[in-house]
Symmetry: C2
Subunit: 256 residues, 2 copies
Amino acid sequence: MPDGNDAKASPLRTKATAGARLGYTPLYLQVRQDLLDRIIAGTWQPGMALPSEQQLASQMGVSQGTLRKALDALASDGVIVRHQGRGTFVAEHDQRRTLFQFFKIVSDENGRIPPETVYCQVSMRPASETEREALELGKDADIWVILRHRALNGQVALVEDIVLPADRFPQLDTKVPLPNNIYELYERQFSVTVANARERLRAVRAEAPDAEILGCAEGAPLLQIERLAVALDGSAIELRRTRCRTDRFHYISELR
Amino acid sequence: MPDGNDAKASPLRTKATAGARLGYTPLYLQVRQDLLDRIIAGTWQPGMALPSEQQLASQMGVSQGTLRKALDALASDGVIVRHQGRGTFVAEHDQRRTLFQFFKIVSDENGRIPPETVYCQVSMRPASETEREALELGKDADIWVILRHRALNGQVALVEDIVLPADRFPQLDTKVPLPNNIYELYERQFSVTVANARERLRAVRAEAPDAEILGCAEGAPLLQIERLAVALDGSAIELRRTRCRTDRFHYISELR
DNA sequence: GAGTGGTCTAGACCACTGA
DNA sequence: CAGTGGTCTAGACCACTCA
């Protein structure tokens, strides 16, 4: 058993037994954060099984019910995945997750189809001011810029600029050609797990270079998607701008 | 106590005590459905308080923990709202909910601002085939069509076509002028509660009529949003097409 | 201070998986 | 059939709201 005594009778429990008004955090949220910290630190790698509820509960000195609430919270955030009868696993950026959670463009006829990368180029340059601000970078930070063209149903439909902080992705250029599933690359090669993202959508005119790549007229309407992706530890990790033809595709959004 | 013996020792409990392989539904989900049915039936109106957990649990013959899981599920679906120390309430389509859950267009400078209706027209006609299909209507069904122009920061920015099944909204035309918050109208006047919606986004060219309304050039890029809204009982209730300028506004989408 | 939802516990039993 | 997560219970106590 390699998972021995690393957090026994933990120093948590801010229980506020008396009138501690502010700053009260329920035990299950403290447990949640403790587990999340260990996942971020790499104690359990993506795809690996966590110890069983019983083991974790007794290790951390809490009841199984409390531990379960912590795991439920992590599961609803997509950090872990639970399978009845099998165990609890650190969530992975497999094909399925990338396609459903992080790819919102759908074919009008075929529904969800995985995009195929048809062109990819990597370069480095100093970050602009807006890039530094969005990615929370220091004054002289460098960034990687990835340019990709991607096809759906065999038709080039997307042009992407991806911006990454260079220091979090050392020697990215040696990984060329980059795999189709780039978040899997972040995860496996650089230990960076994308947890969630916010997107801003606009309709824009196709400028000449994009029009040529996408095979549409200059001035045609394109859907522009600006994404800021956030890592497990809450830091901004990727800035992405996608321009997309929407004559045979559309972007889906669920309001709940 | 007006909420007497209406569901005592309920006929639920499909507990599968023996090897009932398929068709097993956990008790808390049965309770959830039972409560949802009563909300749909209007036993508790939007904004009203439900009985306390203790009362509901003993009424329905389940433990407080099980009842709580059912309420938690309804709360995470946005059907009810819980307030520690105050009670549990049927969710309402107030200004706040409409603005945050069902309005995704944001000003580049000001952030979230409520849109202002500057033009509104209501008419009735037979449903087209695609409308019948989307709204699950019969052969000769009629629909209401609402045309609206809406302004953000004092600038006309949105053109909307809203399609509703006529039989669910009797005498809608007598409610003109429609209030700004139209989901509140559905709820209060027609007992129709919008629960969630799916949207399809595209970039399109501004045609002449929209260009004039929005004050932009013909052929300018517009963001087109097609929405299908679903009621509490799961039926499709509204089809909506919005066209929007995105030179000073954008659409936000959260990926989690 | 009474009443509400929120947390925490301890234990029993059930459904599912895989060797 | 052993081990895992999922459900269900009963009861204690805590934090919050409002009269």
